[in-house]
């Protein structure tokens, strides 16, 4: 049924709901329109991306800690508000507990991407994190290199051990990229070094002696994987042993990977570099031939004069012990970090909560190096040192 009325202009019959007169074309008054007989369909929900999941995201604690197992259901800790998007330094432990789950959020993984946050999941050694309760390490491929040739290893001596209870052992190795299979070299060297060092400490061997033995064995292990002296995998080595009982920190190194003492407060020992690079530039500076700035500008600046590998000959292991006043932290790193932050003070200022949030600190250092260019592989190990100990002194 059509309700009709009359066009005011030409008096022809028009429908109540017509917008204009079909005869004369005049627009018809709107108020005469019939009520809308067409029910307006309810709008489909336009709920877009699941932003409402954001809360769930915020209350997720950092998961799958390699050392501290979660008991029961995931506990909710509202104080943990992960950065979003997750920093390039993720939270991927060496052994992923469940490869079907995202390393940054509670999403499932398909085709290598998280179904929730969308990030490509790290594979192999591209990005590795080690959480050992008392020390934390992050190693990242960086932005220019095709693979990560850095390696790290951390051991914590059991609290019930008769010797060196609670001591922390960490090793960082940087594969020499001009040598073959340098990724394998660094892995073998770091693992051997940390394992031998921890074994000796448990047996009651003094940290300095244990460091010497560990370095010798690590050098033998990496030499053993060489097919010939002409094709010798090679890497750097830096180790640290922190002993909670004596407060002493023992470092050993060959090459240009570094150990730093980083101050955690005004009453702590001041931040300082604990190692001296086995590099051409450092040698020039020590000889007084060049200033540090001049040496670093040289194309040879990073050329190593000592390393571990079948072609290195007898290694000249450097070992040093300090007893710093805490709080603070011992930082081991490859040149992927210190190329951008070489001064101990700069490293301290860059990450203020070093000792209290060591994992986050290690990630932050890696993130800083990535932002600064990430030209090399980056590996950072942070060992917090609590309040106490004696004033730092070289032994």
């Amino acid at each position: 049924m059509t309700m009709v009325r009359t066009c005011p202009a030409c008096a022809d019959t028009v429908s109540m709901s017509d917008a204009f007169c079909e005869s004369c074309g005049r627009n018809l008054p709107v108020e005469a329109a019939a009520p809308d007989v067409v029910p307006t369909a309810p709008q489909e929900s336009m709920a877009g991306i699941a932003l409402d999941d954001a809360d769930a995201q915020v209350t997720q604690p950092i998961r799958r800690d390699a050392v501290i197992p979660e008991a029961g259901p995931i506990s909710v800790s509202p104080n943990v508000a992960p950065e979003w998007p997750p920093p390039a330094t993720g939270s991927n432990p060496v052994a992923v507990a469940n490869p079907g789950l995202c390393v940054w959020c509670p999403g499932r993984v398909t085709d290598g991407y998280c179904e929730k946050c969308g990030f490509l999941q790290p594979t192999g050694r591209d990005h590795v994190e080690v959480r050992a309760g008392k020390a934390f390490g992050v190693s990242d491929r960086g932005l220019r290199h095709k693979r990560n040739e850095d390696a790290m290893a951390i051991r914590v001596i059991e609290e019930h051990s008769p010797h060196a209870a609670g001591a922390v052992v960490a090793v960082v190795c940087d594969g020499v990229s001009s040598s073959p299979r340098s990724d394998e070299a660094s892995r073998v060297t770091a693992e051997t070094g940390a394992t031998v060092l921890a074994e000796r400490l448990r047996q009651g061997v003094d940290p300095r002696e244990a460091t010497g033995v560990a370095m010798t064995q690590a050098a033998r292990a990496v030499a053993a994987i060489a097919e010939s002296p002409d094709s010798a995998p090679a890497c750097t080595f830096v180790s640290a042993v922190t002993c909670p009982r004596t407060g002493a920190v023992t470092v050993g190194w060959v090459g240009d990977s570094r150990a730093y003492w980083l101050s955690g407060g005004p009453t702590s020992s001041t931040s300082t570099l604990l190692t001296r690079d086995d590099s051409w530039s450092e040698a020039m500076v020590q000889m007084g031939a060049l200033s540090r700035e001049e040496a670093m500008r040289s194309a040879n600046a990073h050329a190593l004069i000592a390393w571990m590998g079948a072609d290195s000959g007898e290694i000249d292991a450097h070992i040093s012990t300090v007893t710093p006043i805490g709080p603070g932290a011992v930082l081991l790193c490859s040149d992927g970090l210190w190329n951008y932050y070489s001064e101990a003070e700069a490293l301290t200022d860059a990450v203020p909560d070093l000792g209290t949030a060591p994992l986050e600190a290690a990630r932050t250092y890696v993130g800083l190096a990535l932002r600064a260019g990430g030209r090399d592989n980056i590996t950072v190990v942070v060992i917090p040192v609590p309040t106490g100990g004696h004033r730092a002194e070289h032994v």
Binding site: V30, V38, I49, P85, A88, Q121
Partner: protein
């Protein structure tokens, strides 16, 4: 990555993604062109269920040559329908009137019903008003009685709609996506914008202008044949996007420009379904823009996951026919990050071209000559730059081009109504760029995962 479906009649779909995945540090906008290609069997069998409703405007203005041409055209369309398809012919005036069959239902095409329908079309006569909303509601009613399958309508009109705009818009909102409708305007008394609204709501292939009634028959036959080539209905483009991201837009950019952004429906978690209507053997391109939170250098993100989906009864029964990844990777390499993928640039230009033409013609109608000159000049430059010769030719009839490269033009003092409407109607038709030559595996575009 091409996905092969084992449904006998269904087409094979392929998704390809073209983009520059690299973003500068702090960059958040990810653009990509998602190309969807489908291949149907050459001959569509009776296993494909389809319904066709032919709506002919029989308002008073159709009197004379136009109504005769419309009858010829309707007959050509009926003849192109294959046996087994359900169909109806509706006359549109003040209300929608069943021409064939006389009852409110669809009937199956066979020799008998075809002959009866051809006969019935002869009884069409021009009288009454133009109420497109009510015609479309009648078509929807008929489709609802006809069950599943391809649902296609052809709507022919020659005048402007005589319904209050809120009534008309209400009908379009209600019917959006319920069936596919191709619209044709005959003569120059109809409104391009109205048919464009119907086309957008009902996912048509772009409205068409048939200036000369004599050309209607060939055009209707082609439309009916194209409809008979469709093998799958209600296909959706499903776009997953990462948590804390926003889908800025999803636009079909080829063969016509169709903004689908507001058509999103969330059927599965964290993904939007955009309706694409029915498919035969064809190719369509979509420009997708997702805004994601900025990531650290070197970090790789799946910024979007585009899937062609055939909805099942429940979301877990949806069939994914093909998929592709839209990626993002942050880099400090400014040169790499600022490069715009040629296909993204091309379609950005084509969308702007459509906008410039429509703006320019509106300004011209309203007597704003300076805006009209600027916008149509911009259109000339864009058409020239993208090699859209078809549109360049149409623009030539509306403006005098002084320099196509810079878009320097003068408005013609008198323009044929047909030329203006043809330009307006065809403004949303784009020219395609060739997808890149390399393999279709976009998943591997960023190297080893």
């Amino acid at each position: 990555m091409p996905n092969t479906s084992d449904r006998a009649a269904g087409p094979e779909f392929r998704v390809e993604v073209d983009q520059n995945p690299y973003l500068p540090l702090g960059g958040t906008e990810v653009h990509a062109v998602v190309s969807v290609t489908s291949h149907s069997p050459v001959l569509v069998g009776t296993s494909v269920r389809a319904s066709e409703v032919i709506i002919i405007d029989t308002s008073g203005s159709m009197y004379g040559e136009k109504i005769n041409a419309a009858k010829q055209a309707a007959r050509a369309a009926i003849e192109a329908l294959r046996d087994g398809v359900r169909f109806a012919v509706v006359a549109g005036h003040r209300e929608a009137q069943m021409i064939y069959p006389t009852a409110d239902r669809l009937v199956e095409v066979n020799d008998g019903t075809r002959a009866e329908a051809l006969e019935a079309v002869g009884r069409l006569c021009a009288d009454g008003g133009t109420r497109m909303g009510s015609w479309l509601l009648k078509a929807a009613e008929l489709f609802d009685s006809g069950g599943e399958g391809i649902k296609h309508a052809i709507l022919l009109t020659d005048g402007q709609n005589n319904e209050m705009s809120d009534v008309f818009e209400g009908v379009l909102r209600r019917l959006a996506g319920r069936f596919v409708c191709d619209c044709r305007g005959v003569g120059t008394d109809w409104k391009v914008e109205e048919l464009r609204r119907i086309d957008a709501a009902l996912l048509g292939g772009g409205p068409g202008i048939v200036a000369d009634p004599a050309d209607l028959t060939a055009d209707f036959r082609a439309m009916a044949q194209a409809s008979m080539g469709k093998t799958v209905a209600d296909v959706a483009l499903r776009l997953w996007a990462p948590q804390n991201s926003v889908v800025r837009f999803v636009k079909q950019v080829a063969p016509t420009v169709q903004d689908l952004t507001d058509r999103a429906v969330q059927r599965v978690q964290q993904a939007n379904d955009y309706p694409t209507g029915s498919w035969g053997t064809e190719s369509r391109d979509y420009h997708v823009c997702v805004e994601v939170p900025a990531g650290d250098p070197g970090r790789q993100l799946r910024a979007g996951w585009a899937r062609v989906v055939m909805p099942g009864e429940t979301p877990d029964r949806d069939e994914v026919l093909a998929s592709g990844n839209i990626l993002a990777e942050w880099t400090q390499d400014e040169a790499r990050a600022t490069e715009i993928h040629p296909r993204v640039a091309h379609y950005t230009g084509q969308v702007e071209l459509a906008r410039a033409i429509q703006d320019g013609l509106t300004a011209r109608r309203e007597g704003d000559e300076s805006t009209a000159t600027t916008r149509l000049g911009r259109a000339v430059a864009l058409a020239h730059e993208s090699g859209n010769e078809e549109t360049a030719k149409l623009l030539d009839r509306v403006v005098d081009v002084i320099d196509p490269a810079t878009g320097t033009v003068r408005l013609k003092s008198s323009v044929d109504k047909v030329d203006e409407m043809t330009l307006d109607t065809n403004s949303t038709r784009t020219v395609r760029t060739r997808p890149r030559q390399s393999g279709p595996d976009t998943d591997g575009a960023l190297g080893p995962g």
